[in-house]
Symmetry: C2
Subunit: 132 residues, 2 copies
Amino acid sequence: MKRQDRRSRCPLNFSLQVLGDTWTLLVIRDIVFAGKRTYTEFLKSEEGISTNILADRLRRMVTGGILRKEGRGRTAHYSLTPKGLDLIPVVLALIEWGATHDPETAAPASVIERIRTHRDEVVRELRERLEG
Amino acid sequence: MKRQDRRSRCPLNFSLQVLGDTWTLLVIRDIVFAGKRTYTEFLKSEEGISTNILADRLRRMVTGGILRKEGRGRTAHYSLTPKGLDLIPVVLALIEWGATHDPETAAPASVIERIRTHRDEVVRELRERLEG
DNA sequence: GGATTATACTTGTATTATGCAAGTACTCTA
DNA sequence: TAGAGTACTTGCATAATACAAGTATAATCC
């Protein structure tokens, strides 16, 4: 399949054609939770994304309106657009599922518990920090 | 990267290594919203998954404890385990994002609005229907 | 302002995953 | 137990990814 052709108008299918790979949301995570903004910062993440894949994903996310890029070359930095900020609930849902079902998770139980019981508040706090 | 080796213990990474492709969650969707249970039913979905990919994803999901398989050959049918049922909030979050940001979405506004305003109730209803 | 250096990528190649067409195997029904 | 429907497997072409290496851009130093 070529990644660009739309398979259906199902909203889940739409989301998966944009986000359905193993790297895109990790970049979002780095921005939301680690405050990262630059290519090199993303590259340093534990999971070890390849340089060409990172460049490709950043390009797709900018084109897709999830990220905005400001500056060029050494000054380039990335931030979330409103469309990107709307991914916070998606990321939290995946974090909650992963933490619940991975017996070796590194996620602190207290954080997961807070996401579980005060989800909307957590979303609001993260948004405000990134917007302001 | 080989799909099986763990990149980190981040819960998001865990989730993405299991769910981070464009097909897995569509099968979950078919079970949750369309009540599908068999290979052929999954195969008929609008997006057009290939037979070998479907077989591979079903196998992975069974191995990963998301689906259980009952019967063999012509009697085989699949259903969600508790771990699979826990994916309902993930699917709903992705649906909400997709419906919000796809200008050509087929999702009825009323359904999306209900997910947005009564999320926990929707999750509970879907769970009960699938468990009972 | 030209050399230096850090950062942000691109390119090439091997490996792995996917898409498509065709074939095989299991099992229910009659 | 023969036939047909369902559930897959196999083979091959194309696309995506991983890894190593190289190039380009922009700030810094002299």
